[in-house]
Symmetry: C2
Subunit: 334 residues, 2 copies
């Protein structure tokens, strides 16, 4: 394992300290228990809190700021944060309008956020994200995994919360965006969790893992490496087949947001090639790509690979996607 | 070689097409010869054009837009663009106030931009970036290499050009920022140029290349892997020693911009750890980190590694760094 690290045990706090120092105009770091908040506390809005294992940066702390999150709770790499982190964060950012937890659907995260929710005195609710169409139930999951679509949920709910909307309304939008969002990932290499010191899984020089999870969990199948268009064709087909079976079968002319998300080790040049390929397939199905995002947003340390996410837009989602956002990792319109 | 690619020969145009589609509100792609411009042509300003081999994304096309470049000319991976690309780009974006080429100091780029400059009818000038303190002369270079500091030059000159400043003034600021900027890189792995199909260089499981170039060119020395603080200590020392020998020896209290740039394959978590480490060393020397940037801005495909860049700020540079920018890869204040 070759990584930029001093002592593995110190890695998380050193990295968080660097993050907070580099973005001190936007975020503040609180240690022991560890959580991050906005540098300036806003007023009179629902407080949005997310969190999960580290190693997926910029998720979640990179999305703290105006128009997105109020706080994030980072666990150790690929390990759930603890309820005391979530409680401390909630108490720090609650503005009296309630707390909404946005939680990726992994058993440990769900259990700990539930405990925090029960211990919290104030009103609170939870949006569980579960956009990964690859598998139902998985290594760390009952039901679907929450992956890159979580960024879209956090962006849209974050926008709505800034308008002063109440807790139930914010939760409803989060659930809606999640239901209208599907993702599918593929890995070309494994990643290495620092504390483990060895690759999470073995994969051959000519193999890919179709439907991989963001911790390197198995997907649908191991298969031979192929041309990008063929890989993308299967990824997009999996997403569209899933929508076909849902309550919101997209009609021709449906506007979508297309997110091509890198897992950390794939060059931007390849991510844009994947976008080009996915756009052709989706447009061939009569869908209109009216919003797009390409880059490393929900990563798996240094894994080579990428996911494709499609969100079925409506006027409400478009409005909240387009609204100003001012965070370390997503910033526009202000 | 496992990469998301269809035919290697088609990779560049497919990737550029995806880039232009994903950012069609900001950029327009022109093929044969290949160059990219802003989607809306501004008026009455010096036209800023950069370019170079591909594989360093988001440099340069990711910096097209308000407050930065007017056009970029992408060559094939790690290969200089040709003079006809530069000429076509210059003719497309020239607004009658002259053209400023911002060129990283590599022999092929310098030669081809010089040819374009000579062939161009209108007034033009060139800023050569050469911020890499690792080596004088190198595989592709006479003199120092231009690396991540190029982003700071493009940002500041881009800001100045928006004010209507003339060509000589823009060139002078570019030269000044370049002279006040030093960078040092380190590689933990090689990258693989798609057309070559094999790693650019061999490196052991416990080795690093100190002072590596952004094409995988050799640096100062091959050495054993060490703790991050020790690696960063040597990188920062190299930059500071270089400033000590220059005309602008930083005094205690000097404000700096600290850029920690990933080469493409290093997780953000590690880049922030490097930032934390570098900040401690620099502050220990009495320098004040008043601006910062952390992320993958000048990459080497999927190389694991990072560079540290220090820019010695003054009021003029701070003002132009802080001013609004609206490009695919750098966006704030607007």
């Amino acid at each position: 394992m070759k990584k930029f690290v001093n002592k593995v045990d110190d890695m998380l706090v050193e990295s968080l300290s660097g993050f907070a120092a580099a973005h001190r105009d936007l975020v503040a770091l609180h240690l022991d228990p560890n959580y991050l908040t906005r540098a300036q506390k806003p007023q009179n809005k629902v407080a949005l809190i997310s969190g999960g294992g580290s190693g997926h940066e910029p998720l979640h702390a990179g999305f703290i700021g105006y128009g997105m999150l109020d706080a994030a709770c980072p666990g150790h790499v690929f390990t759930s944060p603890s309820p005391d982190q979530m409680l401390a964060a909630a108490e720090a950012v609650d503005m009296g309008k309630g707390v909404l937890f946005i939680v990726k659907n992994y058993a440990g995260d769900v259990m700990n956020f539930e405990m925090a929710s029960e211990m919290l005195a104030g009103e609170n609710a939870t949006v569980l994200t579960s956009d990964d169409v690859a598998v139902i139930n998985s290594t760390y999951t009952t039901g679907r995994r929450g992956v890159a679509g979580t960024v879209i949920v956090e962006k849209c709910v974050g926008s709505l919360a800034e308008t002063g909307a109440d807790l139930a309304t914010c939760k409803a939008l989060g659930d809606k965006v999640n239901q209208r969002t599907g993702s599918m990932g593929v890995a070309l290499t494994s990643c290495t969790v620092p504390a483990a010191g060895r690759a999470t899984f073995d994969i051959g020089d000519n193999e890919l893992e179709m439907g991989v999870g963001i911790h390197g969990e198995p997907g649908r199948r191991r298969e031979a490496m192929r041309e990008a268009d063929a890989i993308v064709g299967d990824m997009v087909a999996a997403i569209l087949q899933d929508f076909e079976r849902s309550d919101h079968k997209p009609a021709k002319g449906q506007e979508i947001l297309l997110l091509v998300n890198g897992f950390g080790g794939t060059p931007l040049m390849e991510l844009y090639l994947l976008f080009n390929s996915a756009a052709k397939v989706l447009e061939g199905h009569g869908l209109i790509i009216s919003r797009s995002l390409v880059g490393n947003y929900v990563t798996s340390l240094e894994m080579a690979g990428a996911s494709i996410t499609v969100c079925l837009l409506d006027d409400e989602i478009k409005r909240h996607w387009d609204s100003p956002v001012h965070t370390p990792a997503l910033r526009w319109g202000r």
